[in-house]
């Protein structure tokens, strides 16, 4: 059974017909065509599907698309300012925090939520803030360095 809803994603309204049981991730990727948000586990464990819902980080694989109606959804495609990379993106690039890059959009979304709420987090607070994002390539060291650098530049 499908339901017509309107999702607000990165400031734009998208009317979509969705199955009631369909998750937000799948609608973002296949109906709206925003494939920057990734599916790594379908289990709320890896954080590759992290988006912001009214500025709160959410695993979109475990969130019904229907529940997102009326909320503001921000995906990786909505993070970048018009004049180039966001500070988080710049730090990740320059510190070497990107390898395969599959976790990267989720890392950026979690970092943004963390820094929006706490512009000067301690290392421990950064680790806790990113503990819902798995990265298999980097061993996290350069991601941690990039977030520390972004926070100190704030």
């Amino acid at each position: 059974m499908t339901e017509p809803i309107t999702l607000t994603v990165n400031g734009l309204d998208y009317p979509v017909d969705v199955d009631m049981g369909r998750n937000l991730l799948s609608v973002l990727r296949t109906e709206i065509g925003l494939t920057g948000t990734k599916e790594g586990c379908d289990d709320s464990e890896c954080g590759a599907c992290m988006v912001l819902l009214d500025d709160q980080p959410v695993n979109s694989c475990s969130y019904l698309a229907l529940q997102a109606e009326g909320k503001s959804v921000t995906t990786i495609e909505g993070v970048m300012p018009a004049d180039g990379l966001h500070a988080i993106q710049r730090s990740l690039l320059e510190e070497g925090g990107v390898q395969c890059g599959f976790c990267t959009p989720g890392i950026i979304m979690s970092t943004r939520a963390l820094l929006d709420g706490n512009p000067s987090p301690s290392e421990e607070e950064i680790r806790i803030g990113l503990s819902g994002n798995l990265c298999r390539c980097t061993g996290y060291a350069k991601i941690l360095a990039a977030v520390i650098r972004t926070a100190s530049d704030n």
Partner: protein, 737 residues
């Protein structure tokens, strides 16, 4: 091997030795980089797979009618629909494309479906009715060994087999089954070309091997199939073997429509091979001064249901069973068993990981028996350039700075206290701080680089100079490691041109680059790229009678004589197939020049242990690694930090739990991957020595970080607890009970 023409006189930005940034980094940071999962074409169908719920059973019947009856289903195919070779395999084609009469492991593909959307395809795959007669699975590898259910046995005998030493230590060691767990699951798209052929865009580490296997099973001519490199979310060995590749092409050709397939995580755990679990029995003998006199080992690895690369992993495990130590009397017996467990194959470290855990535990025990410092014992027996491999007898001709690596690591300071004062177990109600015990452990590991045993190992690359800059064409796979950065750096430094684009081209456009595995692409595809680039520069200089080339054009005696716009009016292109120094297969005793190059690393782990609950925090891991020449230091350190994390994972948390052949934890809730909270602080020292045949003396760097980091963590836990710790992952009960 490498043509080393004169290098450009002027320094160039982002050349070799500099930490150039990834050219694909911005696309990845913006979410614009296209991974295999993200592919989409008009009118495409979705594929799904029906898998065996039993580890061992006879197939009595398959009824596809209920699946075909579902609206939107376009095809349901079984083994009878495979037009060509019914099986595939990287080394031996023994694995059915689709099971026909028997299923031999839990999750083995039995049927494949194409439907109009993902959900319908999965529903149809579940609707296929397969009648099984369940059979008793063979799941104990020691039973399999006794019954001679084996893929391969390996025998190494070197030196006087009657040699003996006065100090003897024996041990039994076990390594659990680790998963590569790349964050992107298996995914791909097959597009029929309208003339009976197909284009495949699927996750892979080796498109030419995929191509060969797809061609065989589809019964097509090689030119009818093109395998394209595509965006990959990590690999670590899991993508060497075919999984969905043949299925996708079958479905696409059957339906005459593009077909896409993406494995869910639980399916991914059955859809790719794993690291071989191992059981190892060791006996080390030394004289009173600590000189190794004899090493005997039996190494058993379980290959699971199908061969994959078990023979090569076993050979590696046996060749490196002694570690980087001299010993004149060695006996190693290896066996790779065939069971009804999930198939095992390549994972980072490829056999060297398992034996390193055992030989390093033995070295520590030997040091203890001798009353000797464990590092002193290792220094005393260190295998160096010019020495003979203890197993094969091969004289090591490339640099192997074992003592320097050990000494450099030992000299690294250990910070007084980590900034993180967390207790093992994190925020849970665990123990009190004064009960926590700190331990420190060291380990050293060695592995071959590139393919060994006489395999014709080559990589082809093409370099072009165009009005837009230089272009490298290659079928080598960028899995995240940064090959795309390195190849551009090599061209900048060797040709003198700053704008370089690396293009991943399909199997019809270039010959094989070999697999992105065995730490080999920097040396192999890097070697091909350097030679092509250097030759092209030499040809251009000769043609225009110049003595230097840069972005502005050809120079002679300090003056620009031909501007670049005129240089590139001609077509400049050079294709090179690079081969490393030849190797040979071993003789019946495992002797011979079987390896092309070696690399080693040493690790020191610092752990905090809660001995009551058996919980472990890995506080820091320091390392010194033999890298030849660091072409991109930041990338090298990135490989080291990531490799160490996987080694820590194997040491304390990552294990696929099997119950009579069934994986009990095929998800990220129960298969524990390290998070950023588990990440130790890492300091890495890069030990650079000239003399390897890689470009600019570079060695592969991807695998050594995973080899001895596991063993170092285990040694640190042993140091903290006094427990034997003879298996990894170390479980709470191994410490607390």
């Amino acid at each position: 091997m490498t043509v080393r023409t004169e290098q450009p006189s002027s320094r160039i930005d982002d050349g070799i030795g500099e930490s150039a940034l990834r050219p694909d980094g911005i696309a990845k940071l913006k979410g614009e980089f296209e991974y295999a999962q993200d592919q989409w074409v008009e009118g495409m169908l979705w594929g799904a797979t029906t898998r065996s719920p039993h580890p061992h059973a006879r197939i009595l019947s398959i009824d596809v009618a209920p699946a075909l009856a579902i609206g939107g289903v376009h095809a349901v195919l079984t083994a009878d629909d495979v037009p060509g070779r019914a099986s595939f395999g990287l080394e031996h084609p023994d694995q059915p494309v689709l099971a026909k009469e028997m299923v031999n492991f839990w999750g083995e593909p039995v049927a494949i479906v194409a439907a109009e959307d993902d959900a319908t395809a999965r529903r149809a795959a579940a609707a296929v009715v397969v009648e099984y007669e369940r059979l008793e699975p063979l799941t104990d590898p020691e039973d399999a060994d006794l019954r001679d259910e084996v893929f391969q046995r390996m025998r190494i005998r070197r030196g006087d087999q009657s040699a003996s030493g006065s100090v003897v230590v024996e041990g039994f060691y076990e390594v659990g089954m680790q998963d590569q767990a790349p964050l992107g699951t298996e995914a791909g798209l097959a597009v029929p070309d309208g003339h009976g052929g197909v284009d495949l865009y699927a996750t892979s580490q080796f498109v030419h091997a995929d191509h060969e296997q797809v061609v065989a099973s589809l019964g097509l001519r090689p030119e009818q199939v093109r395998a394209h490199p595509t965006g990959i979310g990590g690999a670590f060995g899991a993508r060497e073997d075919v999984n969905l590749h043949i299925h996708l092409c079958l479905l696409a050709l059957h339906t005459s429509q593009p077909v896409k397939m993406v494995y869910h995580r639980s399916e991914s755990f059955t859809g790719h091979v794993h690291r071989h679990p191992a059981r190892m029995w060791y006996r080390h003998e030394a004289d009173e001064d600590g000189n190794l006199v004899r090493v005997r080992a039996k190494v058993l690895i379980d290959g699971g249901a199908y061969a994959s690369t078990t023979a090569a992993v076993l050979a590696n495990a046996c060749y490196f069973a002694v570690g980087p130590y001299n010993c004149e009397s060695v006996s190693v017996d290896g066996v790779g068993t065939r069971t009804n467990n999930p198939p095992c194959g390549a994972m980072r470290g490829f056999g060297a990981v398992q034996v390193c855990f055992a030989h390093e535990a033995q070295m520590d025990r030997l040091a203890d028996a001798l009353g000797m410092d464990p590092l002193e014992l290792r220094r005393k027996n260190a295998l160096e350039s010019g020495d003979s491999m203890p197993t094969t007898g091969q004289v090591i001709e490339t640099p192997l700075p074992t003592v320097e690596v050990i000494d450099s690591l030992a000299a690294m300071p250990i910070p007084e206290e980590s900034e993180r004062a967390g207790l093992p177990g994190g925020s849970g109600l665990t123990t009190e701080e004064h009960h926590v015990v700190r331990g420190i452990g060291y380990a050293v590991g060695i592995k071959n680089l590139g393919f060994s045993e006489g395999f014709d190992d080559f990589a082809q690359a093409r370099v072009l100079l165009t009005p837009g800059g230089a272009i490298v064409e290659t079928a080598a796979i960028e899995v995240g490691q940064g090959l795309v950065t390195i190849l551009a750096q090599i061209v900048r430094s060797s040709m003198g041109v700053s704008s370089v684009e690396v293009r991943h081209v399909d199997t019809s456009k270039i010959d094989s680059a070999g697999s992105t595995s065995a730490s080999r692409q920097t040396q192999m595809s890097g070697g091909a790229t350097l030679e092509a680039s250097s030759r092209l520069r030499a040809r251009i200089l000769e043609h225009f009678a110049g003595d230097d080339l840069n972005d502005e054009g050809v120079w002679r005696d300090g003056e620009l004589v031909v501007p670049m716009s005129r240089v590139t009016e001609d077509k400049w292109e050079e294709t090179v197939t690079f081969r490393h120094p030849p190797t040979s297969p071993p003789d019946g005793d495992g002797q011979g020049v079987v390896h092309a190059d070696f690399a080693l690393a040493a690790h020191r782990a610092v752990v905090d242990v809660d001995p009551e609950l058996g919980l472990v925090t890995v506080v820091r891991v320091d390392t010194a690694q033999d890298v030849g020449k660091a072409l991109n230091p930041q990338s090298v350190v990135g490989q080291i930090e990531g490799g160490i994390m996987q080694g820590v994972g194997l040491a304390i948390m990552e294990e696929l739990i099997l119950d009579h052949g069934v994986i009990r934890n095929p998800n990220f809730t129960d298969y524990l991957l390290p998070t950023i909270l588990d990440a130790p602080d890492v300091e890495a020292l890069l030990i650079e020595k000239e003399g390897s045949w890689g470009p600019f003396g570079a060695k592969g760097v991807g695998e050594p970080p995973t080899i001895s980091s596991t063993a170092a963590v285990a040694a640190a836990i042993r140091n903290a607890t006094g427990r034997a710790i003879n298996r990894v992952p170390v479980r709470p009960q191994d410490i607390a009970l």
